[in-house]
């Protein structure tokens, strides 16, 4: 065995470099669990020197609802609603990830129409999720109006979801073997209406927020995450692409017929600062919305007829074995490590929440930044605590 030098020395504990001639006392600031910009019940302990944050230590677990333990007690079908509650802003994508994991392990083939509908709904949900991310990022930066605009557009998507599956937040629409119901009459037309309306709105957000001088100066060069750091901390999704790594599971390991669609993978270019800063991570989301619109248009154009649900027994039993299956969620790669012992419920289900991994880089990025940059950083990582704590 040859020795290999380890590249990254874990150095979570960090000594504040205070100027030697001025003796100041570190102020320990408890940010959260109830704080407007922690996006849920995240608690961050900040060690500050005036406005300067020397160290930030996140504490999580306030929203831990034992999803993995519950999974061992319920059947496969019964667990689908629990996946809604992981990343509650992208429930469709969560449903898809779990359904794919079960289908792959059980060797279940899904009909073509179901695959197309899955693509349409998960891309719509990606837009909805990115709208929340964009809007609440504006809110973190102190601009209230983009938030309301984004929610206005999201309402339309939620209306579309509601008409298709009856729910506005926790859909459980994409089930094992396909999707639960076929589309209602006129849904495709309404979806097209939305896309026609929504596409020009993206440039409106850019005018209002993305290229706003103050916004650019607040987010450019802040929280810079170079590509190697992003990979080392296993950032995925827009956070990784914001660092300039062209990595998207929809392109790399296509699932659910994503290879039949034509779309680009936007990456950060560091055009308003350093590569991998908050602005890049933010703008990747804006660009991804355009790509999602492209995918949805293609899927609507080529939407095949046929059944939307494969024959799956009510009490599904999977063969003994295990699988690790990932999908590209709006926040990154959502992974399900599913271990089956041949029974009707998972023997072990480990959920790899993208927000969980993205948040783990916070102590590294939040060093020697200003207090206001913490909210910029948290917003650009775009965490959902339901998924971090599971």
């Amino acid at each position: 065995m040859k020795e290999i030098e380890l590249q990254y020395q874990p150095d979570l504990l960090h000594e504040g470099e205070v100027p030697s001639d001025i003796r100041t006392e570190e102020l320990v600031l408890n940010m959260g669990p109830q704080h407007p910009s922690t996006h849920g019940v995240l608690r961050v302990i900040l060690h500050t020197d005036g406005e300067l944050v020397l160290k930030a230590v996140p504490y999580i677990g306030y929203l831990h609802r034992c999803a993995e333990k519950i999974a061992e007690k319920v059947t496969y079908r019964q667990f689908t609603p629990y996946t809604d509650r992981l990343d509650y802003l992208a429930a469709m994508n969560n449903n898809l990830g779990f359904a794919l994991a079960v289908e792959k392990l059980g060797g279940i083939e899904t009909p073509q129409r179901a695959d197309y509908l899955r693509v349409i709904f998960s891309e719509l949900n990606r837009i909805a999720s990115h709208l929340v991310a964009t809007g609440s990022y504006g809110l973190d930066m102190g601009a209230f109006t983009p938030f309301v605009y984004c929610f206005r557009e999201r309402e339309w998507i939620l209306d579309l979801f509601e008409s298709a599956c009856g729910a506005r937040l926790t859909y459980s629409y994409i089930t094992i073997g396909g999707v639960r119901d076929d589309l209602p009459d006129g849904w495709v037309g309404r979806c097209r209406d939305f896309l026609d309306y929504f596409e020009p709105k993206i440039s409106e957000y850019n005018d209002l927020l993305s290229f706003n001088h103050i916004f650019v100066h607040r987010t450019g060069n802040v929280g810079v995450c170079p590509p190697d750091l992003a990979l080392a901390y296993a950032l995925t999704g827009p956070c990784l692409r914001g660092s300039g790594v062209k990595w998207d599971l929809r392109k790399a390991t296509p699932y659910s017929r994503y290879d039949e669609f034509d779309f680009d993978v936007p990456v950060g270019r560091g055009q308003n600062g350093t590569l991998g800063d908050c602005w890049d991570r933010y703008f990747v989301r804006i660009e991804e919305m355009t790509q999602s619109v492209r995918i949805i248009r293609q899927a609507l154009d080529r939407l095949p007829d046929g059944p939307v649900q494969a024959k799956v027994p009510r009490m599904l039993k999977l063969p003994a074995g295990e699988i690790y299956c990932e999908v590209e969620n709006p926040r990154g790669q959502l992974g399900f490590h599913l271990v089956s012992d041949g029974g009707t419920s998972p023997y072990r289900l480990k959920v790899r929440g993208p927000s969980f991994c993205n948040l783990s880089v916070l102590p590294v990025l939040a060093r020697n930044c200003l207090l206001a940059d913490i909210s910029a950083l948290l917003g650009s990582l775009d965490i959902v605590m339901g998924e971090v704590d599971r």
Binding site: Y8, D11, E17, P19, S20, D21, E25, L52, N221, G223, V224, C225, P226, L229, A232, V364, L365, A366, R367, N368, C369, L370, D373
Partner: protein, 174 residues
């Protein structure tokens, strides 16, 4: 009659605030008592017809100096915020301030107050003319003093070599 009432309306708070500064132990409250005293004295200026002086007192001393004082004091730790001089210290301080007070009283008694009509003490143009005319020398001297003070402050606050800024990129290297 009314003037006297108003005089006491301002003078009593000024004295009370001054005593509170002396006798208080909480340094932050002392800063606020100080600004209360400044406002009361400004009121006395108004009563005397020196509007300009009164307004400048509020603008500069209350709005600027007292705020910065409170700001500086606020940043000290809460334990330090309570102070109480020791007995030896108190005697020493009382001696020094007693001598100073005596000097002040003596100088007031021997000042030789002339009964001179001050030409419109509240007229800003008069004040401006005298500052830039009769008293140009002292005025410029004070300006130079302030400039030196400002340079000194800037020197003290200059960025040191090892000071870290938020934008130095250190926070992102691993």
């Amino acid at each position: 009659m009314l003037e006297k009432v108003i005089f006491f309306l301002f003078a009593v708070p000024a004295v009370v605030a001054g005593l509170a500064i002396l006798l208080g132990t909480n340094i932050v409250r002392m800063a606020y008592w100080f600004s209360a005293m400044l406002v009361s004295v400004a009121g006395l200026y108004f009563l005397m017809g020196a509007y300009f002086l009164g307004v400048i007192q509020i603008l500069v001393y209350v709005g600027g100096v007292a705020v910065l004082l409170a700001f500086g004091v606020m940043l000290t730790s809460r334990k330090l915020a309570r102070l109480r001089p020791g007995r030896g210290e108190a005697v020493w301080l009382a001696g020094v301030s007693g001598v100073l007070l005596l000097g002040l009283v003596l100088s007031i008694m021997h000042a030789g107050w002339e009964q001179r009509q001050i030409v419109a003490a509240d007229s800003i143009s008069e004040i401006g003319r005298s500052l830039l005319g009769d008293f140009l020398g002292p005025f410029e001297l004070v300006s130079v003093l302030l400039l030196v003070a400002m340079l000194g402050a800037a020197y003290l606050a200059r960025p040191k070599a090892q000071t870290h800024g938020p934008r130095d990129g250190k926070g992102t290297t691993i």
